[in-house]
Symmetry: C2
Subunit: 129 residues, 2 copies
């Protein structure tokens, strides 16, 4: 019944440049819809356990990892599964079963879409000059 749709936050155009859901945070005020979409991304990474799981997978070989490899973050196995599901619903991960094991993989375009929300400026420090 939950309306958790796995919207990938970026359009999978198959191109090199991703289509972010929203402009950079500093460009213009977000509409309610944009805020809703972008907030879902940030929220997904807004939990320490999820962040650890994500970095665990992202830094793993090939950007993917078996659940059995990342189940050691201090919470029970059901909780790990729960968080992986959340990340998957947020479009940040995909999963694939290979025999007995399930492998989670980083959805790189989604991550790239997120990165485009933040300005890449080298922190304009007015105190410098």
């Amino acid at each position: 019944m939950s309306k958790t749709k796995a919207l990938p936050l970026i359009e999978s155009t198959g191109r090199q440049s991703v289509e972010p859901c929203c402009p950079p945070l500093t460009e213009r005020p977000f509409t309610a819809d944009e805020a809703e979409t972008a907030a879902r991304m940030f929220k997904a990474l807004g939990d320490p356990v999820r962040l650890r799981l994500f970095t665990l997978i992202a830094s793993h070989e090939g950007g993917e990892a078996c659940v059995c490899d990342i189940s050691d973050v201090g919470v029970s196995q059901p909780t790990v599964s729960h968080h992986l599901k959340k990340l998957k619903e947020a479009g940040l991960l995909t999963s694939e079963r290979r025999g007995t094991w399930v492998y989670y993989r980083v959805e790189a375009p989604a991550l790239a879409g997120m990165s485009q929300l933040l300005p890449h400026t080298p922190a304009p420090s007015p105190a410098s000059a």
Copy 2:
């Protein structure tokens, strides 16, 4: 009583290059501490109302705005104040009173620190060939 300390997530070195709290998400598994710190940032932006307030301020002239300018996001004024406080505690905003009004300003270094958590790669699309 709340242990909400406004840790700015990056070191205010006064330099052009900011000191991010953690390496990029894809570089290596975060420690529990790193995950805690980074999650706090993402969490702060993980609410639609906060995101709208933030973009409202960030896109405002000079990267700052009076509370009276941004109180129209669909929630009550106390709630706006509550969210602004949260963003401030996360180190993403600062506030300053000028006479009757209070101005909130984007803490650019914090934003830059966040941006360094996400890989700036142009989304490696394996389907491109």
